[in-house]
Each structure stands twice: as structure tokens, then as C-alpha cells.
């Protein structure tokens, strides 16, 4: 590393590179997550609920998985839809706001680090923790079910884990945007929980109510579904394993008729947008806002 010499004969190192700063922050976030209760509790809860769902699903199917997208995987999908967005949103929401609240944010930014490096470092670190949580939760379920001789489809579990991680990344981006905007950690986490409720429940109910009340056209219904990352996760998971979206009814049929196999590209683009846009907004706002 090159060095700069300053007037009073102190020889000091040049500032670290962006990559070095990002990895330093990411490792610290990951270590913090592993040590803290949220990671442990989330993993245990995810694993426990996953095993419960798997057991009930396989028991109700008479011990045999259903064809294609197995009943067990379908049960896990619904669990992921509830748990992963909640833990990603809250983890993201508390990340910056809690540091700001205890004065740590200003202290960190007084070091030779750029603001975007700090935010991206946090994002990478928390993402790694979420990935570990998802891998342990779903992997644990799959492992125990396989050991018990229950029918599980490995590829569907791998798809589910991959898409769960993509969903986690999207929700983490939204959570970090909330965290950057909020002054207090409690407000940030409260907002994250409200968003979670809106995405999980209100959107589903809203779509149903809207369809009935306004007699929405089928393509409108589909595009409204695609605007919600949770619905995209659900549709993509079904499509990845079953290669059809018939189970979703008219909206699924419309998607397959219109896009065919390209529907996966549409889903990928939607996920990419949900990951990139909130994170870019968070970085832009964070770069301008006072950390104090």
C-alpha cells in the first residue's frame, strides 16, 4: 500500500480501498449478527417452523410427496413468504438507525471510509447472515426430512433456498432504505413491520378486493401481482419447479400465454429492481443526510 507523508514527519498509510472498507464492515456485521440474538432466534424459529410445516404437510399427504412441487415444499414456501421478509426487513431497518441512535454512525464516518462503502458493507454483512439463516433453516428441514425417509425433491428445495435469498436481498434493501430515513431504531423497525404486514396481507387482500370491486382485467391483476416481490417469489417458485403457473388461475395462465418461458426473465428483472432501486435510493439519501 502506498504511503503519504504529511508535514510533521508522520508517515501514515494511504486510505484503505473501497473493497477493504466494505469487507471490514461486512465482517463486523456478520460477526455481530452471529453473536446477537436475532440471528440465533430467527434461525431456530425458521428451522422449528420449517420442521413443523414439513411434518404436517408430509403427514397430510400420507407420507408421500405430491408430484412436481411437493406438498412439503409448498408448505415451506408459505413459511418463507412470512418469515424471510419479516427478518430481512427488520434486520435492514435496525442496521443504520440503531448505529445513529447510539452515536456510532458519526464515529464510524469520522474514519477514512466513504458513506456508500459503509452502507454497502452493512448490506453485504447482513445478506451473508440472512443467507446463513436461510441455508440453515431450509437445509436443516431438508436434511431431517431426508433422514426420516420423507419424500423431498432436492431441486425444489435448492430453488426455494435460492429464491428465498433473492427475496431476502430485496426486503433487506427496502429495510435499509427505511433505516436511512428513520431517526430512531424503534421507528425504523415499526415501519418495517408495517411494510411487512402490507406486503404479506394487505396486498393479497387488496388484490382480491380490487378484482371483485373494480372487475380488474386479468393483465392488470397480473401486473399488480408482479409489483409485489412476495407474489413474484411465489410465482417464480411455482414456475421454477412446475414450469407452469396453472395453479395461480387466470393470472398464471395469462402470464404463461403472454411470456411463456420468458416469464422467469420478467421475475428476475422485478427482483433485480427491488434489490437495486431501494439500495441505490438508500445510498443516495445516506450520502446527503447528517449521521448525527
Amino acid at each position: 500500500m502506498s504511503a503519504i507523508v504529511v508535514p510533521c514527519m508522520h508517515r501514515i498509510a494511504a486510505p484503505p480501498t473501497a473493497l477493504a472498507n466494505i469487507s471490514a464492515i461486512a465482517f463486523r456485521e456478520l460477526r455481530d449478527a452471529v453473536r446477537s440474538r436475532w440471528f440465533l432466534l430467527d434461525t431456530i424459529a425458521f428451522l422449528g417452523l420449517g420442521l413443523g410445516v414439513s411434518y404436517i404437510s408430509s403427514a397430510s399427504a400420507g407420507g408421500a410427496g405430491l408430484s412436481g412441487f411437493g406438498r412439503t415444499t409448498a408448505g415451506l414456501l408459505n413459511l418463507v413468504l412470512l418469515v424471510v421478509p419479516l427478518m430481512s426487513l427488520t434486520a435492514g431497518a435496525s442496521s443504520v438507525a440503531s448505529d445513529r441512535e447510539r452515536g456510532m454512525l458519526a464515529y464510524l464516518l469520522a474514519q477514512p471510509i466513504a458513506r456508500w462503502e459503509l452502507l454497502v458493507g452493512k448490506y453485504v454483512g447482513i445478506s451473508a447472515a440472512l443467507l446463513a439463516c436461510i441455508a440453515l433453516g431450509l437445509g436443516g428441514c431438508a436434511g431431517i426430512l431426508a433422514w426420516k425417509g420423507e419424500a423431498t425433491n432436492p431441486s425444489s428445495i435448492v430453488w426455494l433456498a435460492g429464491l428465498s435469498f433473492a427475496l431476502a436481498l430485496a426486503m433487506l434493501s427496502v429495510g435499509m432504505l427505511v433505516s436511512v430515513l428513520a431517526r430512531k431504531a424503534s421507528v425504523a423497525v415499526g415501519t418495517a413491520v408495517f411494510l411487512w404486514l402490507a406486503l404479506v396481507f394487505a396486498t393479497d387482500l387488496g388484490l382480491m378486493a380490487g378484482t371483485l370491486a373494480f372487475k380488474l382485467r386479468i393483465e392488470t391483476l397480473f401486473y399488480l401481482c408482479v409489483a409485489n416481490p412476495l407474489q413474484v417469489f411465489k410465482m417464480w417458485s411455482l414456475h421454477a419447479v412446475d414450469t407452469s403457473l396453472d395453479v395461480l388461475g387466470p393470472a398464471g395462465l395469462y402470464a404463461m400465454d403472454t411470456y411463456g418461458e420468458r416469464v422467469a426473465v420478467l421475475f428476475a428483472l422485478v427482483f433485480a429492481a427491488w434489490i437495486a432501486v431501494p439500495l441505490a435510493l438508500a445510498i443516495a439519501i445516506f450520502s446527503r443526510r447528517s449521521p448525527v
Binding site: 508535514p7 486510505p15 469520522a110
Partner: protein, 305 residues
């Protein structure tokens, strides 16, 4: 060297800093003095690039706005209170900041020894006392051997003993040739550490002088620093003025210049007005301008001399 030119900072409509310009030459020690809200911490946060501002700030020739990382690499910063990751061990904390400064972690033990925290590396940060936490913050500031130290009321949360030790430590660093810019509202700290004092008042430079001229210019040879609760400050000010004193607000209380042979008089005035004194200091200056400070930490319910 730190060069500040035409610094302006507003929070919404409130003007916090207005056209402040000064230079801290290499190896110099400059104190920013003023009451709470005068703008000391705001100037420091602008120097660190934490606030957006108008004007120009250069640290070691680096523009804080455009070369923020490089400018901050030259600065060791110690805040008023370290809001740290409490679960980290001291050694982990310091290694983390060493990574952020691009410095080898082999320096860690040496830096801890310099601030008398050697042997504490395995302790968790939450187990440290307030004074030890400040020394940890100083150790972090010293990682990478930065030529400039920026300190923001670093002794405000320390007791008298911790404060004395900490100021002595900073004195050694200053004598070692480091450039010091610090905010304080403690007269003893300013006169011990600073070579030059810049007095801020409502965001503007009100006065600039050598440290040796500072206390005499504040008033007479002896200063009493009364620590009072905010609710009684105005009443105390009125009572003291009515008795012919010229008190000035100062952070946690009032500074009262008194003739050396009449140090008890302000106590009588406050006692008569039934105003409680939480704490007080006597700051006496010699003819040459050097100072000795004695602190009396009797937490008195009533103001008895």
C-alpha cells in the same frame, strides 16, 4: 495543518456557523471555546466531513469535501462519549478500526500500551469505566499515527480524576508534535493544552487569543466555575449581577471572575438566593498566565462556601 475558510452551516433556518475562518498550523494546539450551542462541535463535525457545509475546509492539503477519506486518514478523532459496540472486546474493537484505517493489527498492542490499556484487550467494551472508554477512543484515534487529533469535549463525561489523567495524556501527545484542534468549555483544559484559543459565540468567532492571554481576558486573576442545574442558571446570573459580579454562562453553569481575596463572596450571594450548587472549581492564574486548577467535588445541596 487545518485551514478553514468562510465556513457556514445552517440547520434548516437556524444558522449554526456563520463565516468562520481560521488556520491550525502544523504542531499547533487550538481550542474552540464557547458556551453550549456556540458552534464548537458543529465546526468539528464539518472538519470531519460529517456535515454538509458552505465554505472551504482543508486538512493536510486535502479538501474535506472532495478528498474526505484522505483527509480523515490524517485525523484521529475522539468524541465526547464513545457510543461503542459494547459486545466487542477491546482488542477486537481496536483491530476493527485498524482495518478501517488500513493499518496492520500488529500496532494494536503498542497503541493500547500508550494509553495504559495494555492487558485490557480481552475485556468487553461494556466492562470498561467511562475513563477507560475515553482512553480506548484515544487509542483508536492514535492508530496509524495520524498527525492531527480532533477532540470534541472529550473530558465532559469524566470525573475530576479521570479528567486530569486524560488531559495529561493529551498534553504529552501535543508536546510530541501533533496538531490539536479541540472543543472545550473547561478553562483548565484550554489553558493546559492549547496554544491558541478561538472563542465562538452564536456561530461566529468572537475572539482569538493566545492561551496565556485567555484567562486574564476573561476577567480577573481568579475564576470560579459553578456547576448549576439549568433551571437555576438565570436566577443565579441575576443574583450575581445584582451583587456586582459579571458571570458568564459556560456549558454546565456559570463562570464568575472574582478578586483573589473575595472568592467566598459569590457563594454567599447564591446561598442568600437559596440556589443550589452542584459542583464548583476554582481556577487561579499566576502573573505569567500559567494556571493551577483545583476542583472541589462536594455535591452540596445548599450553596455553602
Amino acid at each position: 495543518m487545518i485551514r478553514i475558510e468562510g465556513l457556514c452551516k445552517s440547520f434548516g433556518r437556524a444558522v449554526a456557523i456563520e463565516d468562520v475562518s481560521f488556520t491550525v498550523p502544523t504542531g499547533d494546539a487550538v481550542a474552540l471555546w464557547g458556551i453550549n450551542g456556540a458552534g464548537k462541535s458543529t465546526v468539528i463535525r464539518c472538519v470531519l466531513g460529517l456535515f454538509r457545509f458552505r465554505g472551504q475546509i482543508e486538512v493536510g492539503g486535502c479538501d474535506v469535501r472532495r478528498q474526505g477519506k484522505r483527509a480523515r486518514q490524517l485525523i484521529g478523532y475522539v468524541p465526547q462519549e464513545l457510543g461503542f459496540y459494547d459486545d466487542l472486546r477491546v482488542g477486537e474493537a481496536i483491530r476493527f478500526f485498524a482495518r478501517l484505517k488500513g493499518v496492520s493489527s500488529s500496532e494494536v498492542d503498542d497503541v493500547l500500551d500508550r494509553v495504559s490499556l495494555g492487558g485490557q484487550a480481552a475485556k468487553r467494551v461494556r466492562e470498561l469505566s467511562g475513563g477507560m472508554k475515553q482512553r480506548l477512543a484515544l487509542a483508536i484515534a492514535l492508530i496509524g499515527n495520524p498527525p492531527i487529533l480532533v477532540l470534541d469535549e472529550v473530558t465532559a463525561s469524566l470525573d475530576a480524576c479521570g479528567r486530569e489523567e486524560f488531559v495529561a495524556l493529551l498534553g504529552q501527545l501535543s508536546e510530541g508534535g501533533r496538531t490539536l484542534l479541540f472543543a472545550s468549555h473547561r478553562v483548565d483544559e484550554v489553558t493546559t493544552l492549547a496554544k491558541r484559543v478561538i472563542t465562538l459565540d452564536r456561530g461566529k468567532i468572537a475572539h482569538e487569543c493566545l492561551a496565556s492571554e485567555f484567562v486574564p481576558q476573561l476577567g480577573l486573576g481568579t475564576l470560579l466555575h459553578f456547576h448549576l442545574s439549568p433551571q437555576v442558571c438565570d436566577a443565579a446570573m441575576t443574583a450575581l449581577r445584582a451583587s456586582g459580579f459579571a458571570p458568564r454562562p459556560n456549558g454546565v453553569g456559570l463562570l464568575v471572575p472574582v478578586p483573589s481575596e473575595q472568592k467566598a463572596a459569590p457563594f454567599r450571594v447564591l446561598a442568600d438566593a437559596r440556589i443550589s450548587i452542584d459542583d464548583f472549581e476554582v481556577i487561579a492564574t499566576s502573573v505569567s498566565g500559567s494556571k493551577t486548577a483545583t476542583q472541589h467535588t462536594a455535591r452540596e445541596r445548599e450553596s455553602t462556601p
